[in-house]
Amino acid sequence: MSTTHLLIELVLMPLVAFVVGLAMLLMLRKIGARLQRRVGPPLLQPLFDVIKLYSKRTQVSHGLLHEAGIVVAVGAYVAIETLVPVPGMNGIAEKGGLILLSYLMMVPSLGLALGVGQCANPNGSIGLSRAMTAMLAYDIPFMLVVFGVAWQFQTTNLVELVAVQQAGGIATWGIVENPLLAIAGLFGLQAMLGKQPFEIYVAPAEIATGPMVEMGGKFLGGLFVMQSFQFYTAGVLYTTMFLGGGENWFTFLIKIFVVVAIPLSVAFMFPRYRTEDMVRLVWKWPVILALLGLVVAVQ
């Protein structure tokens, strides 16, 4: 692979992710609207929102770190996008792997946490504490799932993971080989995306949207971009692990939209848990499922 090719991929991969991510945001709002028997926003509304936020006149910053936090949150996702393979583009996925990705995905949130920390708003801090707790909770089943998949396919390399599943057809997809792990993974996904019933750290009515409390203008816009990346990444990762990755862009997009649509639809049917209840729930069923899946995987 030539250097130019690689450079093009490095530019293209985040860009695609951004676009698809925005589409997913749109889907989220559409689903919500349909469930509440509304029409929902038009096609380009998410993009307009982002542009609007970035160009607002009132931009309140609490200091350099506040700004750096947003930069890290967005920037880390840009980096992550180059590490997950999509049809036709592997980027530098060979240089990382499943475990690196699992840890790298904590970086944007922590960057955001730094920014929120400097806002010096107690509501933000409370939100952070809850977000960290949630992370501790859902990462345990999620890492079990990662282990199970890596063991199942005897690799942590995402490119190889895709290659193995595509070579063997649907029968070798993770979801077929080990449905238990796939279900546990879905649970983890739900929590990772911070959607109901796990949106404890946003909790608008309780702690005034927690981490977002001091965010406005391009800061909130940054968060918006970050969320679009987050949806996309989660979808791609799950697809790569369980659904055989993308043979071509058409099937690939279908898969990742379906994957993201599930938690989003579920989200609207649930109220919010309390922190301790969420921890208990996540440590119970997904962990049990993942462990059972591991037993299957090891045999």
Binding site: V60, T82, K95, Y103, P122, N123, S129, V213
Partner: protein, 627 residues
């Protein structure tokens, strides 16, 4: 005189200088220069780190028919490098304003410099020990030099350091006695104290002898390393040492335990033989015991750290937990695991020392390390914040810092060996660390700046430069772990372990050069995106609204106490202090036995005892002869 001799003599000289003029104003600077000299001598020995033959000391005293040998190999060099650099930078840190402040607070700066220098000398002697006897001598010197550093801080710590040091030395003596027992067993089996003879003799040993040898060694080294269940001494002992001393101890001192275990697992006995000792045949062997101890050492102390409200204690508890990763990797036994475990030693030193120093810089400026009395300092001490930020990312083991690389190798090793439970325990430890260090950072530097800290200044350069140097090590070796992995591979070769196949960017499918590169790229994109927005306006921290009113200087609200209340609501009940309880039971039983012994001397009818003893021994002898 070999370079090793020069190094040892130079280190002794540094100690002598410290003890004579350690309390002068210029002493810190002079000593820092001397440490740098030691560092240069180590650089002269650098071929060791790239596969050269060990360097032997010319001085080999013979005592009671036994010879003391000093010989430095790749493993020793690797640890010695960390030691000397840590000693150098912490002394530099203490050379300026910090030292002056310490003296003004009534501390004995000269003694502290001397103690640090003594620790460095002792460590060098231990790390270059060429047989079991010199190992024991070095071992004891390290223990007692550490003790000196721990107990000398009585005034600063409000008298807490004394009992903490006493607890340490009691544990350390227990470890030393276990080591002595191991020495005796080895001597019995091989007829000498030489490593080579022991290695030869291991195969001929009977099963019980081998098991007891492994246990004796393991006991000695695990106690020093603060592994479960012998970890209780470590946190208070390190936390209440004088700042730079505590940083030194936390960075490297307890890792000599790992050094010893590496020798046992590598050359002396061999991990294969240890795995061959099956406790439940087919299911559970002695190596598994080590791995589970390591995994529990990762989890339990980390979650103890999570509950600390004193920054020093928090860091010290994490130090214990990180030791678990090292042992876990080492006990995994393959190239990846041992490589990760050994690399983690340097990584841990490189972030633990600046973290301690950053905490002490904050203490220097604010007078407290109580996490509930700080906050918002990032606006006043941005560079110290930067050091702590880099440090905690390394400690938490997140990319792109070096802590991630070593843990990654351990994870992959566990993955390849199919150890999901150990893997998940290691992950839980990392997650707990992330939570805990975020609390540390948040409660110190983020949130509301307290009114009494409004005028706080940034730490002086004499403290910042050493911290920044250490922090830069975290970044550089995180980006190019191959620098360290070269040394680690040489150490593995010296130990007879499988050698890690690596590149400059990492190993096992990880290339940190690329990962760091795309992160920089990503941040650049993020910055551009950020700058593309409308210009922002900075506001004061009180330009803020929460809990129904504006925050003002009179009416501050910093969320810090019980930071993870929700989590604690769930796991709070799991903190049972079982080890503290077990320790107190041991102490109570010694007390009871002691009371009984005292009673014997106080109350008994002396003559009656004499008579009883006479009759008893006569009868015993008669019976003994009769049978």
């Amino acid at each position: 005189m070999s370079v090793l001799d020069q190094l040892l003599v130079f280190a002794f000289m540094t100690g002598a200088v410290a003890s004579f003029i350690g309390d002068r104003r210029f002493a810190g600077t002079l000593l820092a220069i001397l440490y740098f000299g030691q560092f240069l001598l180590l650089v002269k020995l650098a071929p060791l780190g790239y596969g050269a033959q060990p360097v032997v000391s010319a001085w080999q005293p013979a005592l009671f028919g036994e010879v003391l040998v000093w010989r430095m190999d790749a493993l020793g060099w690797y640890f010695a490098l960390i030691t000397v650099v840590a000693g150098w930078l912490v002394t530099w840190y203490a050379s300026g304003e910090w030292g002056q402040g310490y003296r003004e607070r009534g501390g004995n700066l000269g003694l502290m410099h001397t103690a640090v220098a003594a620790n460095v000398v002792a460590m060098l002697l231990l790390l270059s020990s060429g047989n079991l006897l010199s190992l024991f001598v070095g071992w004891e010197l390290v223990s007692w030099a550490g003790f000196l550093l721990m107990v000398m801080n009585g005034r600063e710590s409000g008298g807490v350091s004394g009992p903490a040091g006493l607890r340490y030395i009691t544990y350390a003596t227990l470890g030393a006695m276990a080591l002595l027992a191991a020495l005796a067993i080895a001597h019995h089996a091989s007829g000498s104290f030489e490593y080579i003879d022991l290695i030869d003799a291991v195969d001929q040993m009977t099963g019980p002898t081998r098991v007891s040898l492994v246990i004796a060694f393991a006991l000695a080294f695990t106690i020093k390393m603060g592994l479960l269940p012998f970890h209780l001494w470590q946190a208070p002992a390190y936390a209440y040492s004088p700042g730079p001393g505590g940083a030194f101890l936390g960075a490297i001192s307890s890792r000599v335990g790992l050094w010893g275990l590496a020798m046992v697992f590598g050359s002396l006995i061999g991990i294969g033989r240890i795995a061959g000792i099956e406790l439940i045949p087919g299911w559970f062997d002695l190596r598994d015991v080590f791995m589970w101890v390591a995994a529990l050492t990762i989890v339990l102390p980390t979650f103890t750290a999570l509950r600390q409200n004193d920054a020093r204690l928090l860091l010290a508890w994490h130090g214990i937990g990180q030791g678990g990763y090292m042992l876990l990797g080492l006990a995994a036994g393959d190239a990846l695991g041992t490589g990760g475990g050994l690399m983690h030693v340097l990584n841990h030193a490189s972030y633990q020392a600046p973290l301690f120093l950053a905490v002490f810089a904050v203490m220097h400026r604010t007078g407290t390390s109580d996490l509930n009395r700080l906050g918002g300092l990032v606006a006043r001490m941005p560079l110290t914040f930067l050091v702590m930020l880099i440090g905690i990312i390394g400690l938490a083991g997140l990319p792109p810092m070096n802590g991630f690389v070593s843990k990654y190798l351990v994870y992959i090793s566990l993955l390849r060996q199919g150890e999901p439970l150990l893997f998940i325990l290691a992950v839980i430890g990392t997650l707990g660390t992330v939570l805990s260090v975020f609390k540390l950072l948040h409660n110190t530097f983020l949130g509301q700046l307290r009114v009494e800290h409004m005028e706080v200044r940034e730490a002086p350069w004499s403290m910042l430069i050493p911290m920044l140097l250490m922090a830069s090590v975290v970044v550089v070796t995180g980006t190019a772990p191959g620098l360290v992995l070269d040394w680690v591979a040489s150490a593995q070769a010296a130990l007879g372990l499988p050698v890690l196949d690596h590149t400059l960017g990492g190993a096992a499918g990880l290339d940190m050069l690329w990962v760091s590169g795309v992160l920089v790229y990503g941040f650049a994109v993020g910055t551009l995106l950020f700058l593309s927005g409308n210009k922002s306006r900075r506001v004061h921290q009180f330009d803020n609204y929460a809990g129904g009113h504006f925050l003002t200087a009179e009416n501050q609200y910093q969320y810090s106490d019980q930071f993870y209340a929700g989590l604690m609501h769930h796991i709070g009940g799991w903190y049972r202090a079982s080890f503290t309880w077990a320790e107190s039971v041991v102490i109570a039983s010694v007390d009871a036995m002691s009371a009984a012994a005292n009673g014997f001397f106080r109350r008994t009818q002396a003559v009656f005892l004499l008579l009883l003893a006479t009759l008893g021994s006569v009868a015993w002898l008669l019976w003994g002869v009769g049978s």
